[in-house]
Structures are given as C-alpha cells and as structure tokens.
C-alpha cells in the first residue's frame, strides 16, 4: 500500500523543489509522463505531511481511476512511476547544485576527437575547482587520477611530447588515492587489534609507511595524520 519511500522523499522536498517537481513530471527528458503528472497533481494537496488516512487513499484512487474498483496494485504502479520521475528529478537537482559534477560529466562528453580544445578547457576548470577545495582527501585524489587518465586517453593528447608529464601526474595521483584507502583501513584493522600479524607481512603497507616516514609526502597533511594515528595505535 502506497509507497513509503516516495512519501518520505516528497516530505523532505522544500516547497520550491516540490513545485519544481511538477515541471519534471512534464519533462519527458527527466522521465516525466502523463501518469507521473496525474499522480503528482492528485497527491499534491497532501504536501508536506503526506499523512493519508484509508479514506484519503480511496479518494486518491477515485481521482486516478474514476469508475474502477479499488485495486492497490494499480495504485502502487502509479506511485512507482512518480517515484522514478522523482529520482530523476533528484539527479537533476544534484547537477544544478554541484558545479563540479556538472563539469565532470560535460568533460566526459567532450572526449569526442573533434572537441579536444573544449575538453582541455573543461579539464582546466575541473582542476581549478578541485584545487580550491580545502582538503586533499581520497575524493580529491580520485578526481585528479580520473582527470589525468582521461586526458592521457584522449586521442588529441600528444602522449609522446617530451615535455608532457601527464603519465607521471597520473601515477602520483593514483598512488595517493590508494594510500588514503589503504591507510584508513589499516588503522581500523590495527585499532581492532585483530590484524597485527597480517599487517606485518603486508609489503605494500610497509612500503607506504616507509615513504611517509621518509618525508615523501610532507605536504600531504591527511596522509601524515594517518601515520601519526597509526603510530599511536602501535
């Protein structure tokens, strides 16, 4: 009976977003269709509480299916259609509010061979946005790795230009990306005191620890912190 998930989301939408959802139901591009629009209209008087009594549910049903006997399955089907549109709408909202994500996806679309200059501009924008972030965390290095990887793979990229160091940057970003995951999981394992023996044989972890201790990542505050935490748990 009536989709809890749908109502939970609808309750949490701001009045502005709930109103905008109506436009999404009218947008075929965002999985909108006549069913979603009709369901939205019938349910909208219940915004924002969406506390429907059994009587309300019957009322909703009659509005959706006049002259038909009550069939909860049919009602569920309509709710699911609106849920699908709503999820597409949430993705739309995310893209509207997250400039970095938007640029990342545009960048991906610009991998066409004839759009190399636009691709490069979009890459520069992404680098600038990333470098403006406060923390160089795992997410930061994941994005950097993806950026260099995508550039390297682009057919317009001069891989064999002697001054090009994309492959080195790619390697260094990927090292750091890995280290964040490796170090954080190793700390948990050590804290849980179950993995001490296993850790001793971990060649890669040993190598990373040595590199951090040697000062190879002096400017990487987060990585150094991992080591400090790790030392405390020793």
């Amino acid at each position: 009976m009536l989709d809890d998930k749908l109502f939970t989301i609808l309750r949490l939408l701001s009045p502005e977003h709930f109103k905008k959802l109506h436009r999404a139901t009218l947008s075929a591009f965002h999985q909108g269709n006549a069913t979603a629009e009709k369901t939205y209209k019938v349910l909208s008087p219940y915004y924002p509480q969406f506390e429907l009594s059994p009587k309300d549910i019957r009322k909703v049903y009659r509005k959706l299916f006049p002259e038909k006997d009550f069939n909860p399955r049919k009602l569920d089907k309509y709710m699911n259609v609106l849920l699908k549109t709503t999820e597409s709408f949430l993705l739309y909202l995310r893209l509207e509010s997250d400039d970095y994500l938007h640029e990342k996806l545009v960048n991906k679309a610009f991998t066409h061979p004839n759009l190399f200059d636009l691709f490069l501009k979009s890459q520069a924008k992404r680098h600038k946005m990333l470098d403006g972030r406060e923390q160089k965390d795992a997410d930061y290095w994941e994005e950097k790795t993806e950026l260099y990887d995508r550039l390297y793979a682009h057919s317009g990229h001069e891989k064999y230009d002697v001054n090009d160091d994309t492959h080195t940057q790619l390697n260094e970003s990927s090292d750091r990306f890995y280290m964040h995951y490796k170090m954080s999981s190793s700390i948990i394992l050590q804290e849980n005191e179950e993995e001490a023996e296993l850790q001793k044989g971990d060649i890669l972890l040993k190598e990373i620890n040595t590199a951090i201790r040697r000062g190879d990542y002096e400017n990487e505050a987060l990585l150094t912190q991992y080591l400090l935490r790790e030392e405390r748990t020793d």
């Binding site: 947008s27 949430l90 893209l95 890669l204």
Partner: protein, 477 residues
C-alpha cells in the same frame, strides 16, 4: 584554433540518436529556454552535421529566426549561448543516466543530502552487489570495490567491531588489487616514454608491487598476468615473452578484456611493428594478424569510430603482405567508420597505397599529387609520391630530373612548414636525405655493395626515418 562556432562543433559531435533526444531536453520545462533558442534547435537539427559557421551562414540563420529584422550579431550570439547551455546540461544529464556507477553514486549522495541515510546505504549495497557480479575483475572493478567498501566502512557505528574489521579487510584487499593494476599500467606508460626519450623516471612502488605479486597478489589472474608480461616486454624485450603475451591475449575468453582491451592490443601490436622496423622478418605477418584479431573483436572502434592511424596501418600492412583483395574489402567496409571529414582523403590515400603495391606508380601520382590533403595526410602522401617517382626512375633513368626536383620540392616544403615541430618533421627530412644519397651514389655509378654499406650506416645513424624498410630494400636492388 578551430574557427567553427562552439555550439555547432558540439552538435556535430552528437550521434543521430543524441540529436533526436536533445529535442526533449530543449522542450523540457526544467530548462526554461527562450523561444528563439528552441527555434534555433529546430533550424539546425535537419543538417546538424553540416552547419555553416561563416558570416553568411549566420546571417541565414538569423533571417530564419527573426524574419524581417536586420542582422544583429549580439542578438544571435545570445540565442546561440542559451542553446549551448542547455546542450551542455543535456550532455551532463545524459552521461549521468548512461553511467550506472556515477548515477547510483550521485543518487546515494542526493538521498544522503535529504537526510535519508538508510536509502542511501541501500543504494550503495545494491551497487556493491552489482559491481561484484561484473565479469571482468580489472583495475576499475577493484577501484569500485575499494570505494564502496570504504564508504560502507565510514557509515558504520563505532561499536560494530566485527563488521568494521570485515569491511576494513575488504577495503584493504580491494585497494591492493587496484593499486597493483594501476601501478603496472602506469609503469607501462612511463617506461614506454622513457624508452623513446631516454628520460629519467620514478616508480616508487613498482618493486613492492612485483614483490607482492610474487607473494601471491593477483597471481592467478590472467588479465594481470598480461600486464606483467607487457611490462616484461619493455623491461626485457625477448621474443619468448612476446609469444607468451600474444598467446594469452589471443586466447581471451568470451568476456574479453573490456576497457583494457585496446591498451593491451597496442602493446602487442607495437612490439611486433618494432621488430619489423628492426629488420626481423619473423614478424612480417604479425601486425596484420593483430589487426585482423582487433577487427574481429571490434576492439578498434571507439564510440563507433575508427582512428585514421589504425585505418592507414591496416591498409599498409595489408599491402605489405600482398593481401590486396582483403585490403580492398576492408577499405570498402570500414571507410564509413572514419570521421566524415577525412573519409575522402583516406580513401584516396588508401587506394594510392594499393596502386603502389601493384606497381602502378603513375596511377599513384595521377590520383593524389593534385589533391589538397589536410595536414594529417600531407606528409605521408608526399612520401608515397616520392617513392613512386623513385620506382619509376629505377626503370627509366630519363626520369632522374623529375625525381630530383620532387625530392627538393618536398625538402623545401618541410623547411618552410612552421606549424610542425622539428621532431615531427625529422623522420621525413631524414627520408629525403637518404633518398637523395641513394640517387647520387647511383648516378655516380658506385657499386651496389658500397651503396648498401653506406646507406645502412646512414640509416643506423639517423634512427628516425619514415619508410626505413623500403629505403633499405632499394639499396639491395
């Protein structure tokens, strides 16, 4: 610098399906677009692959958009700009919808932002299961596993020690697998370049990864084994390593190697080509075999298109192996899979290559000498013409002057060309120098043995020479 209007260039890059889908975005109430911009889409759509960026073209569009009004460039630019914004939104949204991983991750974030952590967690768990079922356990697979188990780990409460240990083990293991793949792949890129330019490099963790591999990490994984062999091909380029690599690569199962396929393909192919360039005749047939394998497995198509370099190489190796009928069929079947703007010149160049192989040297010259080739084809087409002139000269010594003037004209063209880098032109400059030298020695009636000795010496010194094998063939005739 491309002078084409940005909007036109983006539209031209779309597939037929995408340009049709764009209509629903242009008409979406979520992308409020002024009527002229909507109208602009409908004007451009029917001939979107042949849009005209000239001022005349823009004036025609303006006249259709605003009938009766006098041309206003700023007004037209605004309409273009509005539509460009919606096209970019369309592209971003489409990318998101077509990429399950990114879409589900974004949806999980959206739910989290709404405060619905349980739903978000559920999406991540479903995604984890889906990733787990992926048939190919490659770098990307392990990266996704690492990220998802790491995210699940962060969502745990501090008292869930058992679950926490399990997830930390999973994260750590997935991270190691990802890292091993990434490190070896990056080492391949770095070492390949260092091999060409003799530049220093730093691969801090490669030895540790090799040691971990020896100790069992990814030891039974055939894809990783290919990467390890590929690395060996650079570190100790032995024939037995190549044949082990080739055998493992050609015997990939039905699953194939997915996104790694093309990368691994070029490693094998390039090795075989290097051996031919080094004069090893055992490898003569192998590049064409590799290409045939690549064509059968559809490895060579990216976004439905083939790189013109691959196309030209296939024609070259087809001709070299005297498989003329097969090559003609290939040209017929695949020419349409090249970007539209180069199809004509590639077709002409390929046909000329076949004429050359069939010793129809006058046909080569007649077919391509007057054609206005683009920069990408200009040099290689001139080389083919020069080679044809030389072949004619070998049979008819009265042709000497034509040949000399052709070589000099090409040399002068190369020195005048400021758009290309010196490194880019060097193989062609060297080609001219050696061809000239052969010609001079022949005119001086120097013995063939001496010519051969001198030219081989010069080839060894110059190193980067286009059509090196053909030049060497010419001195033993």
């Amino acid at each position: 610098m491309n002078k084409d209007i940005k909007l036109f260039r983006i539209l031209k890059s779309l597939s037929r399906k995408e340009i049709n889908q764009l209509q629903s975005a242009v008409e979406s109430p979520l992308y409020p677009l002024a009527l002229p911009s909507q109208k602009l889409y409908h004007i451009l759509r029917p001939h979107y692959r042949k849009l005209d960026s000239t001022s005349e073209g823009k004036k025609n569009i303006f006249a259709e958009l605003f009938p009766g009004e006098s041309y206003d460039d700023a007004k037209l630019r605004r309409v273009f700009s509005n539509l460009t914004q919606v096209v970019k939104k369309f592209l971003a949204y489409n990318q998101l919808q077509n990429d399950t991983w990114q879409r589900e991750k974004t949806l999980a974030e959206a739910y989290e932002e709404l405060g619905l952590s349980t739903v978000s967690q559920q999406i991540r768990e479903n995604l984890y299961e889906r990733v787990d079922q992926e048939p190919l356990k490659n770098e990307n697979y392990w990266k996704k596993k690492m990220i998802l188990s790491g995210a699940q780990q962060s969502a745990l409460l501090s008292n869930q020690k058992e679950a926490s240990t399990k997830l930390a083990k999973e994260t750590s293991s997935a991270a190691d697998h990802y890292f091993a793949y990434a490190t070896v792949r990056h080492a391949l890129l770095i070492k390949s370049k260092a091999y060409v330019f003799d530049t220093p490099y730093n691969l801090s963790y490669l030895e540790a990864v090799k040691k971990a591999y020896k100790n069992g990490l990814l030891r039974d994984d055939s894809l990783f084994r290919l990467y390890v062999l590929a690395l060996q091909l650079i570190e100790e380029p032995r024939k037995d390593v190549f044949f082990a690599y080739q055998s493992l690569y050609f015997n990939q199962g039905n699953v194939g190697y997915g996104e790694d396929d093309l990368f691994l393909f070029y490693i094998g192919l390039n090795y075989a080509v290097r051996q031919i360039n080094g004069g090893d005749i055992d490898f003569q047939k192998l590049p064409l075999e590799w290409y045939k394998f690549g064509l059968n497995r559809n490895i060579l198509l990216v976004n439905g298109l083939m790189e013109h370099v691959d196309f030209s190489n296939i024609v070259f190796f087809g001709c070299q192996n005297n498989e003329i009928d097969w090559t003609l069929t290939f040209i017929k079947d695949y020419i349409k899979l090249l970007p539209l703007e180069i199809q004509e010149e590639e077709f002409l160049y390929s046909k000329a290559s076949i004429f050359f192989q069939e010793n129809k040297f006058y046909e080569v010259i007649d077919n391509i000498s007057e054609y206005p080739f683009s920069s990408a084809y200009a040099l290689k087409s001139k080389v083919l013409i020069l080679k044809s002139h030389f072949e004619i000269y070998l049979k008819d010594s009265t042709y000497t002057l034509t040949l000399i003037s052709s070589i000099l004209a090409f040399e002068s063209y190369l020195y005048r060309d400021k758009k290309r880098t010196k490194a880019n032109k060097l193989p062609y400059i060297n080609f001219c120098k050696i061809l000239k030298k052969i010609l001079i020695l022949r005119i001086k009636k120097i013995s063939k043995t001496v010519i051969s000795k001198q030219i081989r010496k010069q080839v060894a010194v110059k190193k980067v020479i286009v059509s090196k094998n053909w030049l060497l063939e010419k001195v033993i005739i």
